[in-house]
Subunit: 139 residues, 3 copies
């Protein structure tokens, strides 16, 4: 049984930037000593989240539209009144989507569907430098 702690770092544009991280996640599994196990992805930060989606431009637009309807930017947030940074909606979206994702893999291959990609969603209202923790556990 082996545990490896790795991380991904990258730049985002903010404003519901949706970044396909499937390939770097798969490469980290490939480079690890683990063939069968689980990878846990975790966002360090409170204005971004993780999920899976079919990464095609129509759905990426639909995803942004959904967030604009479900958790709008331009309504009053107590956070904005107190802190003046205008990203109350970013915090809410991140808490609702969630910071963690756990994906099994076998023989180094992630258990994803053909049209299913892993995405990091930056809900913040400005470009950010981001870090995701990847923990690979298995044998």
């Amino acid at each position: 049984m082996t545990i490896e702690n790795r991380e991904l770092t990258f730049q985002t544009k903010g404003d519901c930037d949706i970044i396909d991280i499937t390939s770097p996640v798969a490469k980290n599994i490939e480079a690890s000593r683990v063939n069968n196990g689980t990878i846990t992805l975790f966002v360090t930060g409170s204005t971004a989240g993780l999920t899976t989606i079919e990464y095609e431009s129509g759905l990426l637009g639909d995803f942004r539209d959904m967030w604009n309807r479900v958790v709008p930017q331009d309504i009053p947030y107590e956070h904005n009144k107190a802190w003046g940074d205008g990203n109350g909606y970013s915090h809410m979206r991140a808490s609702l989507l969630g910071p963690s994702l756990t994906i099994p893999f076998t023989s180094k291959r992630l258990a994803l569907g053909t049209w299913q990609q892993i995405v990091f969603v930056d809900f913040d209202n400005r470009p950010r430098s981001r870090k995701i923790i990847l923990q690979i556990m298995g044998e």
Copy 2:
């Protein structure tokens, strides 16, 4: 420490079909060589999700009503314009609910409440053959 990769396959009716998978999940733990550990459930596909709910008919109706309000079917989706399959809402619901669920168990017993069942939710707009990956890790 042991890892076992198993899977569940089943047919759904689509259209927010909510399937109680608690019993087959428990049976897979029972049949495994692991007594204490974690089971990670993962949906392969981008139009279905996993969560827990008290599986009674009132709440199942309420759950469908909630999705109809939060992510409606009959609004414009860019995905539908591009692909014509009409399931843009299914993709959005699946990405919001999330594809993975991790549940601890001890002495083969899942850490569920008495009125808490594991459900697979098929958001697609047609019947589907589905597969869930079950990864059991522990000792």
Copy 3:
């Protein structure tokens, strides 16, 4: 490789009570025999959930407001008609937020951002005694 099963028990006020459990979670990792690994948190029960948030009073109010908009209390729920306990909205919120959270840690330190706390959210409409399962797995 070691697995430890622990639990947190506490009282809540219900009604979207948001409880910061970062410190007791960290203390359980500190007290365990595991230095590097994953902690899986799981809510036993179907009217509460887990996520992360920046724990400041503005955002806590915003979080409650978000739930009042996205899954309102005062609309008809079939569950309420059948059972009369008035907490149909609590079940819906819990199923949408999700019962599990998996967080990596290294050298006993959780992979959280500086302004990111782990919270238990009690969506029920009355005070409750609650239990969270903590499973620590690693080396």
